[in-house]
């Protein structure tokens, strides 16, 4: 199960379609706050997190999830249109395991999701 946290309707639709096409079930959240709430509630296998969002942005949401032992192990892939170095560094610092620059091709997103899900879990992670 993948949690897609993204405030743009087109992107939500594109990533939902491609992930569903590859057989994942997709949960959708439209801002950082609901993203955090839904992650705690549903414990997804992976989160695709847009970084620029209203209410709580993706970086803050990621930090909150990583600070919570219950959700800390959920891998988070950052998605952003601000494809600059400092954004990637910030995403990494917040706890994102991977970084995709928008516009990311749907199949690239699907491939990255697959890659991250097949990574061996770090010791201590559940």
């Amino acid at each position: 199960m993948i949690l897609l946290v993204e405030d743009n309707a087109d992107n939500q639709e594109i990533y939902r379609i491609i992930l569903a096409h590859h057989g994942y079930s997709v949960l959708q959240a439209w801002d950082g706050e609901s993203g955090v709430r839904m992650a705690r509630e549903h414990m997804p296998d992976l989160i695709l997190m847009d970084l620029t969002m209203p209410v709580i942005d993706g970086l803050e949401a990621t930090r909150m999830l990583k600070a919570d032992p219950a959700t800390a192990a959920i891998p988070i892939i950052a998605l952003t249109a601000h494809a600059m170095q400092e954004d990637e560094a910030a995403a990494e610092a917040a706890g994102c395991i991977a970084f995709l620059a928008k516009p990311a091709e749907p199949r690239v997103v699907a491939a990255e999701v697959k890659r991250v899900l097949t990574l061996p879990r770090e010791p201590g992670e559940n």
């Binding site: 249109a81 600059m84 400092e86 516009p103 091709e105 749907p106 690239v108």
Partner: protein, 504 residues
């Protein structure tokens, strides 16, 4: 001859005979004190001298003359004082027309030369010794029976002489001579002081003028600096506003493009259902056009960020040869697609070089994609050479070339060789960005080109000192076009073509 009135006034107030001054100690002291006071009171030295000499009349003679040595060593008769106004006028007119010469054998000039006082009883033969007829006539008219001439000496220098003339053949004794010499010294001191004072005033005035000029200059400089700062500040603000605007525009453009590309990809990949060959080909055209648009937006964003000075340099040691090979691998298919030969010339083995990989890659992609774009037949070459510590990258083509008059302008932002032709497209930022990047890396980009024969862009990159600590992140801030290239390289199952930033 200026002010003589004070002298005349004092003259009237000094009725005592010279002889009594000379003999009576108290009177003598009073005379010299008065003279000194009069001399000190006046700073105009001609007035001073006239006053001083005038005080001594009629004690030392019927009339007198004062001569001073000018800075150019000539002698100037600054005062002629005679109790008879008619005779005084006569004398002044004559001496104005016939000033004493420095080398005159007799009179004041000789006293000035020898620094010694003279006392002359003017018998007829003495006057006959004066060669000039008019002068002789004048002296007879004024009355000249005896001369007493004393030098004016101060600080070891003879500054002039005072000549007392009597219309009778009077005798002077040693006391008279001493008194007259004393007077000469006092006059000299007064003259010296007046000159020193004038010089100091002049120096003071010059200093004051210089100070005023300096103050003015400083104020003006401050004013100019203020203006320059203001102008710079305004320019920076305008530039920053422009960059912010371009940045925003770029970002806003990307959002709908993301949707266009995303849905196009979903359709083309048949995620949303099967498509016909014709539909697939149309989708590919949409995708290509949107890729192109995205590249343009990326260039604008990169350019805007560089203009705003947001770009920082993160150096680390990279294998330049490998970097050039990577870039070549992205460009080669583009050349092949146009039927162009593609030649890569790099030295054997790794070439460790301290630089920023992302910027080098962008430079190479810009130049090489440009070369492919402007070449219809022939060859595109990519070469890497070492030049001592420095590295030289060359991108050559056999394309349309650039006229020499445009050789510099191609590096300007928003400029294209044929402004009217929309055929080649592009933002006109590619080379401007390339040059900015090379400059950031401490190097430069130059162009050699001949119309119809092709162009060679040469990038000189000096070896940079290890100023910044190495960073963990492989490529640093780079354009989004490059990010995408990078992303595709990393991503499995890519099958996507490289999108070199189109230039020009």
């Amino acid at each position: 001859m200026t002010t003589l009135e004070p002298a005349a006034a004092t003259l009237d107030a000094s009725p005592a005979p010279a002889a009594s001054y000379a003999r009576d100690g108290r009177a003598r002291f009073a005379f010299l004190a008065e003279t000194s006071r009069a001399l000190a009171a006046s700073l105009d030295f001609e007035t001073t001298l006239a006053t001083g000499a005038g005080l001594a009349l009629p004690h030392f003679g019927t009339w007198c003359m004062v001569d001073v040595v000018e800075a150019d060593d000539t002698i100037r008769r600054v005062a002629v004082i005679h109790p008879d106004p008619g005779k005084q006028r006569l004398a002044r007119a004559f001496y104005e027309a016939h000033p004493p010469g420095r080398d005159d054998p007799l009179g004041a000039p000789r006293v000035i030369r020898t620094h010694e006082s003279e006392f002359v009883i003017a018998y007829d033969d003495v006057l006959e010794g004066i060669t000039q007829v008019e002068h002789r006539a004048l002296l007879r008219e004024l009355g000249a029976r005896a001369f007493l001439m004393v030098p004016m000496t101060a600080r070891g220098k003879t500054l002039g002489a005072i000549t007392f003339v009597s219309d009778d053949r009077r005798q002077y004794d040693a006391d008279d001579l001493l008194l007259a010499e004393d007077l000469g010294r006092r006059c000299a001191m007064a003259l010296d002081n007046a000159r020193l004072y004038a010089a100091s005033q002049q120096a003071l005035a010059a200093a004051e003028a210089a100070r005023e000029a300096a103050t003015f200059t400083a104020l003006r400089a401050e004013e100019l600096l203020g203006e320059a700062n203001l102008a710079r500040h305004e320019a920076e603000e305008a530039n920053s506003a422009k960059s912010a605007f371009l940045g925003t525009i770029s970002h806003e453009f990307r959002t709908p493009l993301t949707a266009i590309q995303g849905f196009t990809d979903l359709l083309a990949d048949e995620v949303s259902g099967p498509v016909t060959e014709k539909q697939r080909s149309d989708l590919a055209r949409i995708r290509a056009a949107s890729d192109h648009l995205l590249t343009l937006i990326d260039e604008i964003l990169t350019f805007a960020r560089q203009q705003a000075g947001h770009t920082e340099l993160r150096l680390r040691e990279v294998d330049l040869a490998a970097l050039v090979r990577e870039s070549a691998a992205l460009v080669e298919p583009l050349a092949a697609a146009k039927g162009l030969r593609f030649a890569l010339r790099i030295p054997e083995g790794p070439l460790p070089f301290r630089t920023e990989a992302g910027k080098i890659r962008l430079i190479l992609l810009n130049l090489a994609a440009n070369a492919v774009k402007f070449t219809e037949a022939g060859e595109v070459t990519l070469a890497l050479e070492t030049a001592g510590d420095a590295m030289v990258l060359r991108v050559g083509d056999t394309g349309m070339g650039i006229p020499p008059e445009h050789a510099e302008r191609v590096f300007s932002a928003f400029w294209q060789v044929d402004q009217s032709s929309g055929r080649l497209g592009g933002t006109g930022l590619g080379l401007a960005v390339t040059r900015q990047l090379a400059t950031l890396l401490g190097g430069e980009v130059t162009l050699e080109s001949e119309p119809a024969a092709g162009s060679v862009f040469t990038v000189h990159l000096p070896s940079l000192p290890a100023a910044a600590p190495p960073v963990d992140i492989l490529t640093t801030e780079c354009s989004q076009a490059e990010q995408r290239v990078k992303g595709r390289r990393r991503a499995p199952r890519r099958g996507a073509k490289a999108i070199p930033p189109s230039a020009m």
